[in-house]
């Protein structure tokens, strides 16, 4: 198969839809743009309907006789349960404000990727089944019959939406196509039509505690590797604890950070920082997943997975919880967790043991974001930092869709980054903060068989990175999301080679000056830090900006010499 080259991919993009209209254009399920179907064993493992082996690329999806009835009844039930769905089905005026706001539309030109049309796929069924006009006038009222082709079309496009909510920011009524996709996917699930890349992790997480399916000893050995690396690169021996009763804080981060670069570097960052602070905290192997792929199947499944966080906090008798850097994890925590599984009255309002700051904004949830925790430390001067250790980096920051539009967590990470790096440049304003573009692989779409789609969806984000890369020489894309760390790495390699990707806590740890620290010339990746190796009196020079300046001049002079 093979993903086409960037130039080829670009050439195919045409943002002008072609006639005939969308209802008359059948959907072709194209390789490279869809993910493998959910496996029987995974569906079985979590008690989902219709477990079977099937292939979305084939004609027969092996659905029960009464599949149509199941979908319509499912829709009826959800129209009575979610005001969002009911109102959003009724009030779209098709103004088109959302049309060119979706990264998948911008990267593919496929008109059914315009948020409004994605929603119309379901809305047309709603009209046909639940409105008088739709029943009588049919197509004239924008209604259509639910056929097998229509069902497959919904499947195809609901798995080309990363539930990023960018469209919702621009809609005059706040119509959130992500919400329609979420509920649409629930309907698909009623027939066992999810994707393997989602249901696999969900099944793992349900039984083993994390998406990757790491068993308790495997979690510990992953961390042991990191502990060794940390010692090698920094001389610091960190000693995390697991499933420890009576710790003050439970720490939960997405399992992606335990497994693959560059997430592991972020994880090493947490380990180092917590160690340096002497924080009384514990990891859990049972609640070893911050993320929640259940959120990409059904509301119920998401709740079933999320249950473990509070349950484990209770069992261990901790006072409160810190959550690591992850995007959808924080949307779930911020907007759903307490409603599902709260109130967690057995926990206390989080108070930073280092600064004494009381996190009243989290007094109900009892859980705070690691970056929030760190921002407070820095504000109170509790971390000894030498940002010049990151001087070889020119950094920009990618707001994750979920922390931006499902929380509004935007200035805290920027504050932290600016405290640990000297060179920071934001991307253009239409591409950051609440208008941020998705990495292109969110909501469980970060598989490998749909790489074409991911690269198309990643174009708008990558294009903005390219802009600051060319203008300011940005060479590092910071973020606070485990999926981003993996997905943006692929997307940068593809679209903007030469830009690395890192979690914020990796940068923090790299800038930290540890107690009694010896000379530290490599970063957490084990790479030499340019400039550090020449430093004569590392410790003193590093702390003093006054000493830094002459060095910069020297570097400048060296640069001039080079150009002559």
């Amino acid at each position: 198969m093979g993903t086409p080259k960037p130039e080829e991919l670009i050439q195919k993009i045409d943002l002008t839809p072609q006639w005939p209209g969308w209802m008359d254009t059948p959907t072709e399920i194209k390789p490279g743009n869809f993910c493998w179907g959910a496996k029987a064993k995974d569906l079985d493992g979590i008690g989902f309907p219709n477990p079977r082996e099937w292939n979305p690329g084939e004609e027969d999806w092996k659905l029960p006789e009464n599949w149509k009835e199941i979908v319509i009844e499912g829709l009826r039930e959800r129209l009575e349960k979610y005001r969002t769905l009911k109102v959003f089905m009724d009030i779209c005026v098709r103004c088109g404000a959302c049309a060119d706001k979706c990264h998948f539309f911008l990267g593919s030109g496929d008109p059914k990727n315009m948020p409004v049309l994605r929603a119309e796929l379901l809305r047309s069924i709603y009209r046909r089944e639940f409105t008088t006009a739709g029943k009588i006038l049919g197509k004239f009222a924008g209604a259509r019959e639910l056929t097998m082709d229509v069902f497959k079309e919904m499947w195809y496009y609901f798995f080309q939406c990363t539930e990023c909510r960018r469209c919702s920011v621009f809609c005059p009524f706040g119509i959130d196509t992500a919400e329609i996709t979420i509920i649409g996917r629930e309907l698909l699930n009623l027939l066992g039509c999810n994707i393997a890349w989602i249901t696999g992790p969900v099944n793992n997480c349900y039984h083993k505690g994390n998406h990757l399916g790491l068993e308790p000893h495997a979690i510990m050995s992953s961390l042991e590797y990191m502990i060794d690396d940390i010692e090698e690169y920094t001389g610091v021996k960190v000693e995390p604890t697991f499933n420890r009763k009576g710790a003050e804080i439970l720490f939960i981060t997405p399992s992606g950070d335990l497994f693959a670069d560059p997430g592991t570097f972020t994880c090493m960052g947490y380990l180092l920082m917590f160690h340096e602070l002497g924080l009384d905290y514990t990891w859990s192997t049972y609640a070893s997943e911050g993320g929640n792929f259940g959120f990409f199947t059904t509301n119920e499944m998401a709740k079933r997975l999320n249950y473990k966080m509070y349950a484990e906090a209770k069992r261990l008798g901790v006072k409160w919880i810190i959550g690591g850097e992850c995007g959808h994890m924080w949307r779930v925590l911020n907007q759903y967790m307490d409603t599902w599984n709260g109130p967690a009255d057995f926990l206390e309002v989080p108070v930073s043991p280092i600064t004494g700051t009381r996190f009243d904004n989290a007094k109900q949830l009892k859980m705070i974001h690691a970056v929030e925790f760190t921002a407070d430390l820095i504000k109170n001067n509790k971390l000894k930092l030498d940002p010049s250790r990151n001087d070889h980096l020119t950094v920009t920051y990618h707001d994750s869709c979920n922390t931006a539009r499902g929380m509004g967590f935007m200035d805290e990470p920027r504050y932290v980054i600016n405290s640990v790096c000297n060179n920071f440049f934001d991307m253009p304003e239409n591409t950051i903060r609440e208008q941020t573009f998705c990495c292109g692989s969110g909501s469980g779409l970060n598989a490998s068989e749909n790489m074409d789609l991911r690269m198309k969806g990643g174009l708008p984000r990558a294009n903005a990175v390219k802009y600051v890369n060319e203008k300011h020489g940005v060479n590092l894309l910071a973020n606070i999301c485990a999926i981003d760390r993996a997905a943006l790495t692929s997307s940068m390699d593809y679209w903007v080679p030469g830009v690395a990707v890192a979690g914020v806590h990796e940068l923090v740890a790299n800038a930290m000056v540890f107690k009694g620290q010896g000379k530290r010339t490599v970063d957490l990746r084990g790479e030499d830090i340019p400039g550090m190796e020449e430093e004569e009196e590392a410790e003193e020079a590093a702390e003093s900006i006054a000493v830094q300046e002459p060095q910069e001049e020297a570097a400048g002079a060296a640069g001039e010499e080079g150009s002559e």
């Binding site: 009575e80 959003f88 409105t131 621009f170 005059p172 049972y286 349950a311 307490d338």
Partner: protein, 330 residues
């Protein structure tokens, strides 16, 4: 398809009124019965629709946050784009309903060579939308003069403002010009912007033509074709006092105007025009982003099947012990 169908539908409405009044003399039907039926349909339909929405629970508090959340005291909180209290939510809703805050953000994206995605600000939709809705409101308020024996001061004031240009006789109302221009713009953009044209349904063109029809017949009556204003006021007063009368010599143009207005009223509750009510009920806009601080209950929350720690330990106890992890049961 949608366009032609809708245009024909509106022209047919005009012909029906023309034939009904001009030909068949059905003044009472078009001046009394249909208007009553229309207003009743509108009120009942609108109310039922809104109640229907309101009846559906809001299980989760999921505002779309469009600015910095309330955080540390030293971080600037974007109060109206990411409200934390009910007061701030009211602020957000007012900005949305009165000034179309979200549409104001609108951009236009182009894919240029390079490749480079370029985002230009695109405020025309916002401007036209705002102009249209506000002038519509002013025009509706102006029409109140027909329903009061003594024209209320407020209505007089609005008329005064609306006619402040002081040109023409009768005085030109700015809103008349604005509404026709804005609706025309909204129509033209629907046709010429390829993406918008692609998503448009008959249900999108139809109300535009209805409103254009109403505006045009209204303008004709006010500025160009003599009509019997005193008679119209008599008819309107009769309708509101529930003692309907049909004065002679009102002119067929008025009945056409009235008939299209009635059609719009009857159509309203069953159409996308219900966004007028829906915007207030949209859970992504009308809720505060304060879940971490304040509990939100889901009325249909139910217990789910979970995988407990005990089950987990039972499965992995040996491995846990080997790795030196504490266990509950030996």
């Amino acid at each position: 398809m949608g366009l032609g169908f809708s245009l024909v539908a509106v022209l047919t409405l005009v012909l029906i009124a023309l034939g009904g009044v001009g030909g068949a003399n059905l003044q009472y039907l078009f001046g009394v019965i249909i208007p009553y039926a229309a207003i009743a349909t509108f009120i009942v339909g609108f109310t039922l629709k809104v109640l229907g929405w309101a009846k559906v629970p809001v299980p989760f508090r999921i505002p779309t946050t469009s600015g910095q959340m309330k955080s540390f005291p030293w971080i600037n909180h974007d109060k109206f784009d990411n409200p934390d209290t009910t007061g701030q939510v009211v602020g957000r809703m007012l900005l949305e309903v009165l000034l179309f805050r979200s549409l104001f953000r609108n951009t236009k994206t182009e894919l240029r060579d390079g490749p480079r995605l370029a985002y230009g600000s695109d405020k025309w939709l916002w401007l036209a939308g705002l102009a249209f809705h506000w002038s519509f409101l002013v025009i509706v308020l102006r029409h109140l003069r027909f329903f009061f024996a003594d024209v209320p001061v407020l209505v007089q004031a609005i008329e005064g403002l609306d006619g402040f240009l002081q040109v023409g006789a009768p005085l030109l109302y700015i809103t008349d010009v604005v509404i026709i221009s804005a609706v025309t713009y909204l129509f033209i953009r629907r046709v010429i912007i390829p993406q918008v044209r692609y998503i448009s349904l008959p249900a999108d063109y139809f109300p535009l033509f209805l409103i254009l029809g109403i505006a045009i017949t209204g303008v004709l009556m006010r500025y160009f074709i003599r009509i019997h204003v005193v008679g119209i006021k008599e008819l309107a007063m009769g309708l509101v006092t529930l003692k309907p009368v049909v004065p002679e010599g009102i002119g067929v143009l008025f009945y056409i105007h009235m008939f299209i207005v009635s059609t719009l009223r009857m159509y309203f509750p069953f159409s996308k025009l219900m966004h007028m009510g829906g915007v207030f009920l949209s859970p992504t806009r009308n809720l505060a982003n304060n879940n971490r601080r304040q509990r939100h209950e889901n009325p249909w929350n139910y217990d789910v099947k979970v995988h407990t720690y005990e089950a987990y330990e039972d499965e992995f106890r040996e491995k846990m012990k080997e790795s030196g992890l504490p266990v509950e049961k030996e």
